[in-house]
Every structure is written in structure tokens, then in C-alpha cells.
Symmetry: C2
Subunit: 328 residues, 2 copies
């Protein structure tokens, strides 16, 4: 019979890069099992040094193949790489899901690459909190680079990207031509805009539009102005790939910028602030649910709302007054 | 000078179907202005009777055109219709956004149709809470049918659909062929699967796959088994449209099922439960932030985490013990 490892022992092995312990700890954290908080308290002191790279873009933009090549580049530089693929469990993400399975195999022989897909669990905010914890676990595991790949649709996915040090947004020819769409979001979140599939028709036009939009944007002196890099991340012959080296160099340039200007401090601050916010929400909800559990009160409240004797805002006020005393 | 209406007066006018008051109240709720809770308390007693129809699907599946035709059907039946289009403010949703603008015009002459787009605000959970409130406002306005249209990617959007009485999931030929993807989610959320663009190549094959997947699923005696309806929602000549009447009839059939089996009670319960959960989270977060505000404590906590003297889970525990006394 297999001996059950203690949490402390598992974390110890994680710090020695043990893949099996990493997998088990991630599962523990994803499922919010009993030792969840303890695990994270043990893990945190060993985090905060990795470079977090966010990669987002619409389905079909080529995130999987591009991530694949970037993993190769980081490995050449001697870095171990962790990858978190945030995979919405929406019925519409079949493509991304399959792509991920394929990629998993292409790195399965390399002990310096650890990839984990996370499915969303149908619970508001739950996904992101677990995602943050899993990134920390990957850092504690000794990965110098952690890549977070998300589908760029839906707020959850966009939010996750806010903790990245360097954020790549993938677009494809045609997509980037609508300046309105550009203004709406890409420039806010992208440090580097990757025009992937740059061998397609219309790529030149898209590139001009992207560069025009950037030039029109207002950036302060010393501020990082997003770069556009054209790439071809899928090709039948390796010599037909394009822009991967330039992209790796641009990422390194952004990293140097963050360190030089101390902008990295703000990135780290934002990350912890977001983590705290998510944990607060979850913990507070647990307190309330614990207070209500088994009292039959919850059903009573809900029924009184359905029968229009009450409204949810008044109920929340009443419950807060009953179960929490604010320390004012 | 225009007289500023009181909140009570605006709600009174809303109940008399005044569009201008509806618009102002929705803006007030979206921006969480001072009277937000009061408005919702006044609105709730006048809600709970409308049929909520959820429509979701990937970008390009034809949600806008299909919604357009369904609005027409409901109008023919003498119902007033409210439509909430949840439009992720992601940089990747350019297409959906434009489609919505076009549709807005096609009903602009009909006082029995009220359409509102909601952009996501970059705040976890914030979108959905406002969405729920806006649906309630549309009910209080006197709409017998409220359609909630969301892009089927990202958890936020899928969650919103849980409050719908009847949920349509749109797929297009080719998309529905992956049985794995099917199992992953569509059957869980769809009451009716709409195979739109059924005039495209491969539609027969997709239809067979969908029906095969449904037959393979396990449904209990008396349980609603999702239907598949093939439609063509965009056509240059009206006579080339397909399946719209059948879809409207299938929606009516599902509504009859909900009433007959009392399953509608569970739907209503789930809706209020979700609303309560979201309001709780928001209100609790406000309490904490209020406690911390101006004390400089927040920055201290965050910095102690960055410097690895502390971890977020321990900080949350400490703050909760400081600012909240749980009534145990």
C-alpha cells in the first residue's frame, strides 16, 4: 500500500522540483481541500522571482503553437518553464482544448517543462483564484518562467492576464484592422502585440493599422510603448517559421525595461492586490454560508424573495447585520 | 431647466413602461450609484413573472439574427420584449458589437421592444450582478419576455445563462461534431440546441451527431431531454429562412413543461440564490475596503507579502479577525 505523504513533505518535494508532488498540490488547491491554506502559506515564501508571461488572444489565433516555440526559446536560455493553460469549460472551446492536448505531448519528454490545464469550474471568480495559486506553485517548483495562456474572451480570462509581468496579445490579419476594437482594449493590456499568421493575405495592412494605432496613442516619456511583432508560428518546415527570435528578444527587452524603471514593483503590487481581493471574497462568503448552514434560513430568505415579500438587497443587509458585526 | 426626477418617480414611470426612466435606472444600477439598493428594492416586487430566455453561442453563430426573428415571434404573440446583450468589452469581440448596433436599428420603431447592451467593466463578478439587476428592471417595465444574449465563452457569460428559464445554445455545422466538446457542456446548459446556418455543408452530419449525443445521454423519466432545432436565421429572401416557427414552438413547449412539472420553481430558486451570492460578495468586499481605507494598512499588508514576510491567506485571516467579528 502506498504511504500517504504529509502536506509538509509534499511541499518539500515540490521545492525540489518533484513533478508528482506538484500535480498533487495543484489538485489539492484546485479542489480547495482542507490543507489548501497551509499549502499556500508554505509555498509563498518560495515565490515572487519567476517571470510571468501572459499570452492571450481569440481562439484560432495560434496561441498554442506560439507558446510551444517560446517554451523552446526559454529552454535554450537554460530556464525551466511552467505553463498554466486556462481553458474555459465552455462548450465552445473544443479547438483550444484539443490544441492543448497536442502540445502536452510535444514536451512530454522534457523534465524542464511542466504544463497544466485548468478547466473553469462554473463558479464565479473561483477559477481565477485557483489560477493564481497554481502559478505560485509553479514558481515554488523552481520554474524561472511561468507562462499563463488564456482565451481572450470573457472577463475572467482578461483579468488573469493582469498579474503577468509581460503580456502578449495575439491578433491575426484582418482582426486588428478595426481601430475602435483596438482602442477598446488591446493597448491597455498588451505589452507586445503579436501579429501571428503574418503569411496570410492582408498582413501588411494589419501591421500598418496596428502601428498607426500605437503611434496615435499617447504615451508618457519613459513609458513602455507596446511593440508589434509579426510571427508565423505554424509552418510545415521549420525554416518557414518567422519572428520567433524577434519575439523572444522583445520579451527580454520588456523585462529589462521593467527592472530598469522599477515598474516591476508596481506589477508585483498589483498581483498581490488582486490575489488578496479574490481570497477575501471567497473567505467572506464561506463565513456567511457557515452561519446560515443547517438553519434553514437560506431557503426561507430565498422563498421570501420569490414570493416578493422581500428583495435580495434587504436580505443581504439583514444577514450581514446578523452574522457579522463590523468593527467600527 | 429640466426638473430632476426622484428615484421613486422614476420607478413609478418605469412601471408604466417609460423607456426614458428605464434607461436612467439601468445606468444608475450599472454605475452603482447611491440609490442603487433603493431602486432594486422598489423594483423587485414587480418582477418574477416574465419568461427569461437565454441565448448563447460562439461569435459568428448567428445569435443576433436569430434573436431578431424571435423578437418578431414574441411580438406577434402580443408580448413586450426586453433584450439584454452582454457584450464582453474584450478587444476580441468587435464582430458581436457591430451586429448588435445593426439590430438595434431594426427594432427602433417598436415601442414594445427594449434593447440594452451591457459592456463588461473589468471587475470580477461586477458584470453579472448588474446584469441580473437590469433583467429585473426590464421585467418591472412590463416586458413579458426578457432575452439575455451572451457570447458563449468565458465563465461570466455561461453563468448569466443559469438564470434563464429556457436556454438556447447555438451551434453551426462542423462545430457540433466533436462529441467530447458536446459532453463537456452543451447538454448541461442547453434546453434547446439550435443548429443554425443549417444550409451550410455538413449540416446533416452535424445534426446526426447532435442527435446521437443526446440519445446517448441519460435522462430520467419525465426529465426534459434537450431538443435540436435546425434553423437558417440569415437569408436574403424571407422565404429562405428556416426553422424559426419550429424554434418558437419548441420554446413554448419547454415553457409548458416547466409549468406542468413545477420545474419552474427550481429555476426561480436558483436565480435568487445566484443573485444573493453576488450581492453578498460585493457588499462584504465593500465592508472590508471601508475598514482598511485611509489606514495605510492595505499597502503595508501587500508589501509584507511581496517581501515574503507574510502570505495572503494569513493576511486575510488577520484582517477578518480585526474587522469582522463572526457571530458564533
Amino acid at each position: 500500500m502506498k504511504k500517504k505523504l504529509s502536506t509538509d513533505e509534499m511541499v518539500k518535494r515540490l521545492l525540489a522540483s518533484d513533478r508528482r508532488s506538484a500535480a498533487r498540490l495543484i489538485t489539492l488547491v484546485e479542489n480547495e481541500m482542507d490543507d489548501h491554506h497551509k499549502v499556500m502559506s508554505l509555498v509563498y515564501p518560495h515565490t515572487g522571482k519567476a517571470m510571468i508571461l501572459g499570452i492571450t488572444g481569440a481562439g484560432g489565433a495560434g496561441k498554442s503553437t506560439l507558446t510551444d516555440h517560446l517554451i523552446g526559446k526559454f529552454r535554450e536560455q537554460g530556464n525551466k518553464v511552467g505553463v498554466v493553460v486556462v481553458d474555459p469549460s465552455s462548450p465552445f472551446s473544443g479547438g483550444a482544448f484539443l490544441g492543448d492536448r497536442i502540445r502536452l505531448q510535444s514536451h512530454s519528454q522534457d523534465d524542464g517543462v511542466y504544463i497544466r490545464s485548468m478547466a473553469s469550474r462554473g463558479y464565479l471568480g473561483g477559477l481565477s483564484r485557483a489560477t493564481y495559486d497554481v502559478i505560485r506553485i509553479m514558481e515554488a517548483m523552481g520554474n524561472e518562467v511561468v507562462i499563463v495562456e488564456t482565451l481572450g474572451a470573457g472577463q475572467d480570462e482578461v483579468d488573469v492576464i493582469h498579474i503577468a509581468h509581460t503580456c502578449l496579445v495575439l491578433v491575426t490579419p484582418g482582426m486588428g484592422d478595426d481601430i475602435q476594437a483596438m482602442k477598446a482594449g488591446i493597448m491597455e493590456i498588451a505589452d507586445i502585440i503579436v501579429l501571428n499568421k503574418a503569411d496570410l493575405d492582408g498582413a501588411d495592412r494589419s501591421l500598418r493599422h496596428l502601428q498607426g494605432a500605437l503611434t496615435a496613442g499617447s504615451f508618457e516619456e519613459g513609458e513602455w510603448m507596446p511593440r508589434v511583432v509579426s510571427t508565423v508560428s505554424a509552418a510545415s518546415k521549420p525554416e518557414d517559421l518567422q519572428g520567433i527570435d524577434e519575439l523572444a528578444a522583445t520579451i527580454a527587452e520588456h523585462q529589462a525595461y521593467l527592472r530598469k524603471t522599477r515598474a516591476i514593483d508596481q506589477v508585483k503590487y498589483n498581483r498581490v492586490e488582486q490575489e488578496l481581493g479574490l481570497i477575501f471574497k471567497d473567505e467572506l462568503q464561506k463565513i456567511i454560508f457557515k452561519g446560515l448552514k443547517g438553519t434553514g434560513k437560506k431557503r426561507e430568505y430565498i422563498e421570501s424573495i420569490i414570493e416578493q415579500q422581500d428583495d435580495p438587497y434587504s436580505v443581504v443587509k439583514e444577514v450581514l447585520n446578523t452574522y457579522l458585526l463590523t468593527g467600527e
